[in-house]
Every structure is written in C-alpha cells, then in structure tokens.
Symmetry: D3
Subunit: 282 residues, 6 copies
C-alpha cells in the first residue's frame, strides 16, 4: 500500500491497480480554491500515465460533503477574479484577457479528469454543490450515497459556469428540460432525482457502501485488458461529441494499432478457459 499526500488531496493505492483520490479539505467541507484545482490537474495527469494504476476512485474526505463547491470566502475577497481591487487593471479588454488566461487554465484542470487515460469512478455524498457538479460531470461513472444533495449553484452568485458543467450536462443526461431546470434555477436535487434522470448510475445507502461499490467496479475494470478499457473510455468521449460517421472513422484509425495487441489472444484464451487473465502494464 502506498499513499501520497498532496496539499489538498490524498492519493492512496491500497490494493493493486486502484488509486483512491480524495479531496482533503475536510474542515472546509472540501471547498475549492485555486490551489485545489491546480493540484487536481497534477494528481490526474500523474495517474493518467502511471502504469501501476488501472482505475481511479474519486471522492471527498469527511462525512459531510463531497465538496460544497467554490470557496465563497475566497471568491468574495477583494482581489479575486470576481471582485477586482479598485487599483486593478480597469480596462475591460485587459481584465478580460487576464480572466481568459486564468479561465482557460481552470477549464484544463477540470478536464484533466476526462483526459485521464484511466477510468474515473466518482463517489458523491453529502453536499455536492456548485463546482462539485463541474468535477463529477468530467468523471466517467458517477455513483452516490443516499444522502447526497446536488446543485448547479453558480447561477446564485451571478455566474453562468464556464468551466465544465454547462458544456457537459446536455450530454450526460437525457432530459433537456430537466437540464435547463436545474442549471437555470440552481435548485437542489437529491440522490433519487439524480438516479431517475441518469446523472448517477447507482445509489448506495451510505458513503461507505458507495465507496465499496466503486472499488468493486474498479476491481472489475482492473482485471481486464488495460488497452481495451482505456480505449473504450477514449472512444466514448470522442464519439459523444461527433457524428457517428466521424466516430467510426476515428475509431478505426486508432484501433489499427490497438487491435494488434497481444492482450486479445490472452483475453480470449482466458475467457474460453474461464481463468483470470494477466495483462502487461500499460
């Protein structure tokens, strides 16, 4: 078992192939400040190419919240991007340029979860407010505890979120009427509603149960060919955004290398003989 302690994250590998990433600001209910999202990128970029990891479980530390979203204390402080100091640049085009540079980096940090080559299973519990939605919508599989309270809160601080949730939500669930409802009103919704609308794929009684289920899925994934699992993730994200024809053409280009893998005969032999296969690191 290894554990790596970042400033705001704890990354634990307690069983082969599975990394557990926890947001680790328990006393702040895992509220998010710039240092958090910058470090988040480092965490997921590292896991992306770490050959000893085949699946990631992503959760928030403590009992009360996955995350309450952006740290309002930070955001409302003079000097934050949302509250410039009187002596800050006042030319709107120059302020826009500063905001854009920060914002693009912010987007890239959130997107590092989606870009992570390994599957990411996000476990939600307690409060999952505002930026929590941006974070978890960039993960692959979302499951939650019964007590989870979700919301797309940014609208209540005068902002249309531009870091992920509004770009991903129309593609993550089916009912566009519901998407507009929760994104424009910023209202809370609970685990049952999240499940009914397809935002999460299962509900477990407690955070502990949800983590257990996430590890069960992660274990399952880590026993399969990492070439196949990671390519499936990439193909789905690529095709979600494109025509079926473009998706097919890209997949074929990509797969002409991937299906030359030795994992296929290994997997087929194992399947036929009903044994657990062993795959080389990736």
């Amino acid at each position: 078992m290894s554990e790596k302690l970042y400033t705001h994250f704890r990354v634990t590998i307690s069983e082969p192939w599975i990394a557990h990433v926890e947001i680790n600001r328990t006393d702040k209910l895992n509220a998010i400040i710039p240092e958090v999202w910058l470090e988040l990128r480092t965490v997921f970029d590292n896991l992306s190419t770490d050959p000893s990891v085949r699946a990631v479980v992503f959760s928030g530390s403590g009992e009360r919240a996955f995350s309450v979203g952006i740290d309002l204390k930070w955001a409302s402080k003079e000097g934050s991007p949302f509250n410039p100091r009187p002596d800050d640049h006042v030319d709107p085009a120059r302020r826009a340029t500063t905001l854009r540079r920060l914002g693009v980096e912010f987007q890239e940090c959130i997107t590092s979860i989606e870009k992570c080559e390994k599957p990411v299973i996000c476990v939600l519990h307690g409060f999952a407010l505002g930026m929590a939605a941006d974070l978890c919508s960039a993960a692959d599989i979302r499951i939650c505890a019964k007590d989870t309270i979700f919301c797309v809160k940014e609208v209540d601080i005068g902002i249309a979120s531009d870091i992920g949730i509004l770009a991903r939500l129309p593609k993550v669930v089916g009912s566009y009427s519901w998407v507009k409802d929760v994104a424009m009103t910023g209202r809370n919704f609970d685990a049952d509603e999240a499940r009914r609308e397809g935002f999460v794929s299962s509900i477990l009684p407690t955070k502990k149960d949800a983590l257990g289920e996430a590890f069960r899925i992660a274990r399952n994934l880590s026993e399969k060919s990492p070439v196949a699992v990671q390519t499936v993730k990439h193909f789905l994200d690529h095709s979600r955004d494109r025509t079926v024809a473009e998706g097919l053409q890209y997949q074929m280009a990509y797969n002409t290398a991937m299906i030359q893998t030795n994992d296929i005969p290994v997997a087929m032999k194992a399947l036929i003989s009903k044994r657990v296969p062993t795959f080389e690191k990736l």
Copy 2:
C-alpha cells in the same frame, strides 16, 4: 399589470418580471395558421429584449388544448403550400423555391422561442398535437397537466416535419428508440410517458396547477441575476450542439465580458447575508 393583445396571442404581465404568453384561438383549440406563427415571432422577439421581463410562461388558452397543431382546414385548402392550385407554378424547382422561402421563415418563427434571451417555461395541457411538439420542444422547460395528450402527428398527413421537432427531439430526450417510435408512428403518448422519457420535467394534476408551478419557477428565476440566468440558457443551447471543447472555448470568450458584471458581488453579498438581491435591468 399590463396586458398586450395581439391577434392570436395574449401577453400578460401580472407580476414583476414575468410575461405570460397564451395562444389565443380557444374556439379553434389553438390550431395554427400562418398568421399565428408569424405573430409568434413578433411576440418572442419583443420579449427577448424587453428589460422588464426576466422569465416567460407559455401556454394555450382554454381548457381543452395547448394546441391541436396545424389547422387542417387551412392546410387542405386549395392554394396552401400542401395543395397548390392547378394554375400555380408547376415547375418543381420553382415551387421548391417558394416552399423553401416560406419554410425557412416558418423555421425562424419557431426558433424565436429558443432564441428568446429569457427562459421560456412551456405549460402543456389537453391536446398537444403535431406542431405543438415543434413549439414546446423549442422552449426551455416543459411541464404539463395530467390530462395532456401528445403526438408528433405530421407523419399522418404525409409530411416529415421540417420546422423543429425532428431536429430537436434527438437532443431533448435520452431514448433514441423511443424518439424513433413516436416520430415515425405519430402515435399518442400521455403525461406519464412524457415524464418517464424526460420530455417534460414534471406533471401537475391540472392545467391550473401546472401554471402555478410554472409561475413558481419563473418567480425563482426572476429573483436571480438576469446576466447569469440568460447566459446559462445560451450556454446550454450552444453546447448541446457542439463538442465539449468547442463549448468550453465559446463560453470562456463570452464570459470574459459577463463575469465583469457587478451582479456577482451583489449576488455573493446577498447569499452570504441571506437576503434577496436586487439586480439592475438587462
């Protein structure tokens, strides 16, 4: 309270910020003729930039129908686009040109609901047939009364609708098998099925209840920053149609002006002090 009477619509502002648009052809069950869709565009274009409006409730007058769709009497009359007079232009390319010019304008009229900068909550009840689906699928939030009967009827008059529903339906609900089923068969579906498939986001017992719920949502929206609410609507419609990467890039470009708004400090202060904020007109 103000009320504006168009020929086929009634637009009422009975409380601050909320406009109620009603199709007003009760005796025809709100059947639609060209004058209706042309006027619809005028109505929504005006509301789009009216600074005294922050949310729109859209419904059909009378107890029996949101709308029975296109007025079959008009459509089947000699001289309509579907039934040319014997002495009308007979060159198929020239008839096509006439049909295209009319059709493009028709599309723009329906799309004026989507383009309206303010959120539009559509309340459905009774019959909601044929073109009713084109209209409501261009709105943001759909809720309905228990008695609503829906259908995508055009196929039964020999037409594949080209004014909205077939372009929007695959993006409005999740089950593509269901989309194909109702759009190819033109069969009726009721409120429960509409809710289960995500076409509407809630069902209320009666039209009156549904209108009450729509006003409750509208009131909620109108208390928030209009900059934030209207930008959320625009971002979702933009991203629904594009890759996540394109969505993120556009949102950042757009938001560099919008997040310079004074609404953000106003909203944050209100949120922290738990008071209702007041926002400048937009």
Copy 3:
C-alpha cells in the same frame, strides 16, 4: 407470402409491406462470422430499395439468443484478424492497412441497417451479447422479451469495439454514466435495466409477444405515407449528429422535393374522412 433464404439469414414477407429478417444460425446461437456480416449488408441493401417493403422486423432465430455476438471459435483461430498466423505480414503498418480495409467494410455492413431507407424494428430475446449490441443499436426501434440478457462484451476479449456500439451508444440513451459503466465493464444487464435506461422502448413477456408487438408497429408504419415515414427516419439520423441549425437547413433542402408529393393531399383527405389511405409504391 414470399421467403428468401440466404445462407445465414431468412427473409420472409408474410404480409404486405413487412419483411421479417432473421439471423439464421440457430445451432450456433446466431454467433457471427464474416460471412454473416457481409450477407447482412446484402440483405439490408436489397430491402432498402425494395418498393414492396415499408417496414422491417429484425430478429434472431431460435429460442435461446438474438445472437451471442462474434463467434469466438472463429476469432481465436489462427489466421483471424485477431490472431495472425506466424507467417502473416509482420510489418505493423501493413497489418494495420489490412485491418483497416477489413474494418471499414465491417463498419459499412453494420451501418447498412441504419442506412436502410425503411424503418427497422429490432426484436431482442435471450442472449444479446457483444456484437448483438452493435447490430441492434443501428436499428431504429428496439423492443425485447423479458428474458433478454444484454452486454457490450468486446472489452472482455481485449477489444474496444470499433464497429458501431461505441459510436452510437452515447446517442442512443441518456445516462452517460450508465453508458460508461456497461461499455467499460462489459457486464450483463437485463430487460428491465435496458428499458429503464431507454436502450429498448418496450419489454414483452416472451419472444413471441415481442415479435407480435414489432409486427403491430410495422403494420402501423406501413399504412402511412412511405415518403413521410422514410423521411422521418432519415431526418432523425441526420439531426442526431448535427447542430439544430444544420438539421433545419438540411431538412428544408430535402423537403422541398418531398412535400411536393401527392401523398399529402391523399393523407389529409383520409384523415379528415377517417379512412385508411392508399399510397403509391416508393
């Protein structure tokens, strides 16, 4: 009644306008080998322009399986694309070229179901594993028997499927978390789960009932204007993949010819007089 016996398919026309296509390898549980997918294309290309056909029911023969997917015996045999002979071309770029040519043809075979101008109703029962998902996701309407077991199995043989399911699944159901779950784990899911997630639009007690329901839908479709029904299919598939604006522009271009059809007055007259219309062949 006509019946056409292909090597691996049976195509029966037992009532006007409706073709029944059955995969006909009962003893192999309809497992799929290259001859099957090549013939599949011939079957659907023929039906696409056969004027005596207005709807297609697509199912698997026998009681035990729609299809168990790719024939593992074939796939694991030396000399298959997944298991090259030691003396086969070993230059990876040359092997890639061979794989691409085969793969592109394979994709086209599956896509022939989607490209078939006539609506295709797929009836699933028993095992519907692996490539079964590629096949049925290219059909228009999916219904299933209570006993159906589905899975996106390819990942278990070390492959990210590149022939259809991963390009279509994100667009066929609403919950992207569920899509990632079933596609990355390859786990089984049953009829109820398939219905709840929108992958099928109805469940019937038995295969026989499901076939009955499919024929009921097919009969309904075949009584309508074939111009309208086939155009609806095409518009939905086109719009699923594009912006609403692109969808609307294309539909208008396409429809300027289609709405000059005589089917419209015929259909309107029938609708008003409540009689069953008769439409010319297409």
Copy 4:
C-alpha cells in the same frame, strides 16, 4: 428602366434582369453609418426574391471611393458603441449585451449580400478601406479599377473587425501568410496585389471599364437558367464551409427538387440548337 432611390443607396434597373446597387453618399466618400448598413440589408433582401432580377452589380457612387469604411466622425462621437457617454450603462456585462445585440444585427446586414439569392458582382475603385473589405468579401465576384486602394483598416482604430472580413478572408484567398499580413498590419494594398493574391478576379483600367465588365458578366449570368445560377452560388457558399462529404450530401438533397426543373430540357435544346434560351421567372 426603373430606379429606386433609397436614402443611402440608388438601385437602378436599366436593362432586363440586372440591378445596379450604388452606395450613394458621394460627398462622404461613401463612408458608412448605421443607417447605411441597415438600409443595405433592406436593399439586398428585396433583390433576393425579386423575380425580375437575375444579377446584381454593386458599386460606390462618385469617382473617388467605393467606400472609405466606417464614418470616423460618427464612430468617435460620444454615444457611439465605441465611445459610450459617461452616463451610459457602466456594468460591463450590460454594455456587452447591448453591443452584442447591435453587433449581431450589423453582421446580418453585411451577410445579406452573401444570402442574396442572386449573384452579386462587386466593382471596386478608389478608396476601398476598412468596412469596404467587409462588404466586398461578402459579394460573389470582385473586380476593380486600376486605381483601387484596399485595406483592412479596423486594427488602426483598436478593433479586430467582427462583422465579416476576418471570418471570410481566410476562405476568399489562398495565401494565409498574406491574410495575416494585411489583416494585422492594416496596410494598404493596390489592385495589382489584390489580383495577384486572388482577392479580385480582374482589374480594368477605370471605374467605367470595371462597371462595363461587371455588366458583361451580369448579362451573361442573366441569360442562363436562374435555377442553375442561383443554386451554384448557394452550393459554393455551403461547401466552402464544410467537408466535401457534407457538401455532397446537402447538394444531393437540395438538387432532387431543382433538377426536376423544366429549365434543363429548355437549356439543352438551346445548347444543341445554339439558340439563346428563355427561362421562366424565379
């Protein structure tokens, strides 16, 4: 011969089928103010569907300039979009909203030249500065007099043009290095350079000669099938912006109506018998 005098334009039809549109602010060197671009849209929207017009020649009145671009006096006046009054809305998001509404309308006015169904031949002479480039790049064919001085001037007043030239220029000429050069430096270029880079397709000694050549082309176009000519314009503009595959699919959809035209046998008969054909109005 007919002549229609708008406030800022003169539209003359001095021979069958050909409309001559002139910017008519000679004493201001055809400098452009909001009234000009709003009226421009009216002019081109009317010509677009006028059945007595088959080609449009577009030029600037007077000897000295096609147009010197935006009227700097207007632009620099307090209260213009570029120079808000101290008591104007100061919230940057609200000012952005006002600018966007104006700007989108401004774009639509320029684009009315491209959207005009009839071919537009633009004749340039003398000064063709700043917004002149936005205007002429939306036309179909550009020819110029020897004395023409071009530039993409907006950069010199601190603006990256957002009304057309920067969206169209990369698609109007071949050398992207040249595009960047003239658009970033705002430097002048003359007729010879414009021809060498492909921005104009021919140079004539004088404005009068250039107008003569434009009328010669217009006359040629007006003797052909208007169905064919107008469809060619539309196909090229559609395909310029899309993949070859998308272009081909759209063209086929569009043409299934257009090639049913009687103009084809009329044109073929004329071609074979070497007589001038006569085509019905469009």
Copy 5:
C-alpha cells in the same frame, strides 16, 4: 507489361508500380455516360488495393479531349434522369427518391478517385469540359497540356453540378472570386489561367510532354515508402476538411500504427547511404 481492357477504360501497367488509366471513348471525345462512371469506380476501387500499384496516371485517350463531359445525346434523350418519359413516375417525391439513389451512386463513383489509396496524377489536354472538372478535381495532382480548354459547363444545361466540382472547387484553389466566376458563368478558361489560379500545378507543351511529366512524378512517388506516400494523401484529404486540431488528433491516432513500420529504418538507412531503398508491397 500488363494491360487490362475495360469497356470504357484502358488500364496499362508498362513499368513497375505505375498504372495508367485512360478514358477510352476516343470517337466520342471521351463523353461520359452512366456506364462510364460506374466502370470508373470499379477501375479505381481495384487499383486502390492492388499491391503492385503505387501511383496512378489518369488521362483521356485521343488527341482532342480529356473529356467533353456528360454525353449530351444521352442526357437529352427521353428517359434520362434529366428528361423523364411522360409515363414515368410523376409524383415529385418519388422522382426525387429515384434521382437521389442514382445521384448518390454517381457521387460515389467520382469520389472513388479521391478514395483510391494510391496517388492519382491527372493529365488534362484538349477539351476538359463539364464533368471533366468533377473528375479531375477528385484527383491529387493536376497537370495539363498547353492546349487544354477547361470549363464548369453544367450551368449551361440548367444544372448546378452536385457530383463533385462545387463541393471541391472552393478547397482546390485560392481565389474564391475566381471560383464563383467560372462556376456561375460556365465560361472557358485556358491552361495559363488554370495554372495562375492554382487549379493545375504545371503546364507542359503537349499532351505527350504532360504524360511524360506525370510518369516522372509517378516514378518518383513509387520509389518512396508506400506507407508514407499513401498516408500523406489520406492526411491531406482528411485535414483539408477539418480544423487543425481535429486533423492533428486524427493523424496521431492513425500514425501510431503507421510509424511502427519497418519502412522508416529502411528509408533512413537509404537516405544516409544515398541508395535507393526497396520497400515491401502494401
């Protein structure tokens, strides 16, 4: 030396790796009828995967014409797609469907030149009218004899071409003003103009010289790694139609197999030692 005689084409392999395809209707000036374009597809589909071919030279037989385009005798005959028999289907939607099926196949035949995996060098001479432009714009390199007369003739028979030239021309040359000019007027242009505008890349004095130059290029290409040459062709056609970012992503996916080729060390060794490399068949 091998020679394969099709009905309307002659395909000669007179030196290693290079196929010479000639349209072989000399007495008709290589005018094109449906049999020609259907056979064209067969010719290029066969060459595409023929491992003994690495480059294709494409020309027209005889001294007078590459091709005069569509055979007007055929096109104007009663019963052709452009001149239906009085007793042909008269429902415009049904005629449209027939035209679309024919047209899509026609497009695919032309596109087989672009889809051919091997580079195609088109040699033009004499008349190169109408459909000749559709054919040669789908080739990779165009060179011509001094005497070549080009035109995009379709507009003169009342048709906006929908089989290739209007989808490709905006991407084949730089000056969009020139594109509009030649495509809307259908006027002739000569070799010098074609070279100046970039439509051809070189002019040779005679057809014989031009063929010589084409063989010189083909020989050069056939001495290089076929993996590299064919991938370059594919990458350029893919990127021409997409954003730079999409192009780069696709190329990387495709190349992960291709740059594992043994051709790279072979080519590098040859380059360093200045010897001619030998590459395995592809």
Copy 6:
C-alpha cells in the same frame, strides 16, 4: 536590450516590444532533437503572456539554414521512437501508446507558435527542410531570403508527418494540386515558387534583408493597439477552421469584452490627429 539564452534558443529584445527568437544550433544547421521542441514550447509560452512583447521575429541562427529539420542522427539511433531497441516494449498497442503520448506533446510544442498570443513573423533562409515546414507553417507571416530551399521531407524517411504541416498546409496556400505535389514527393522548392504559391508573402535578397523586413513589420504591429492586433490573430486562426457563421458568432462573443477597451478612443484620436498613439501593456 535584454537577451535570454536558452539551451537551444537565443531570445533577444533589442528594441521595445519586439522579441527575436533564434534557433541556436548553428553547427548542426539547426537540426532538431526532442530537447529543441520541448524548449521551443517554453520559449513561446513565455512570450505569449509577456506584457513587454508585442511581436515576435522567429529565425534560425547562422548563414546556412533556418533548419535542416529533424536530426537524422538522433532519429536513426537505436532507442529513438522510430527505431526501438530490441528489448523495448514489443506489444504494438503498448508501443502505440508510448508513441501517442510523445506525439501529442510534440504536436503541442509546434502548436505553441500558433497559440502564442503575439504575432509571429518567421524569417526563412538557406535550408528549410522537413520539420522546418512544420514550424514555419504554425507562424503567422512567412518571409524568406532569395536562397531558401524548402521541402516537406518526412516522406523520404518513410513518415507522413503528423506534427503540423499536413494539417496546416491545405489551409496555408491556395493550390491543392501543389500541396499534394510537394507533400507527396517531398521535392525541393525555392523562394520564387514559395512566393508564387503563397507559402511566403515576400522574398528579400538576403537573410539580413529579410530580417530587416521582419523587424519593419514587427515595429509596425507594435505601434498598434495590442488588444486589436492579438485579437485579429486569434479571430483569423479560429475562422480559418470553421464556417463563416460559427466564426461570426464566436467573434461577437469574444469582442463584447474587447471593444470595451479604452484603446479604441485612444487609437481614433491618434488617427484623426495623425499622431502615434500609446497603448497600455497587455
């Protein structure tokens, strides 16, 4: 004057606002190894946001070459990506993954020139082979000395370049026939041909003259509003890749912040009074 010495680059600021970036491996004719492209990204990322820089001149040190492209010694060494060690990973899918990670980073390094917010003027001289084309095609303006020899060499080492040139070349010049010619044959072309085809926008007698011209352009650019100049660069690169409609929509979103800049009144006042304006840093 400041000078920053990187390992492989020299960055000099010898006059206000203008950075001169030189590839600094003179003795290797500026041949490129991985350290070079990684450092290139650092150089351009730093310049991108350096407020004291408004234009970048990019050239190669020494008299003989801008760059001879990839260092063949490095590329052919055992252990390079093109020549794996016998004991390297042999599973083709795993090698593909390694190659993709390296390749994506390589692409990002080249693209840092295009992403650099400041205009980049590339001065070419002597040999400009292979990867030199990838580098300079990502710059904004290309000018060259009379003696420059260009080629797209990668094909001669068995590779279809996937790091930039094949994605950008179809959009950088007009003649697609010429693009295919030089990219498939890898043949040399000289300054005159580069100018004629639009690959460079001017030729100067010597490297020194070309540098002088580049500084003249850079000086011109640096006297303008940096808001305007940098936005023009961004708009052109965005629009090059998208439909005109998408380009216009994005530009308007972006500009609602940028045209609130105080640079506009400053620039207009200067223009009217014919004085040189002074703009705030960006």
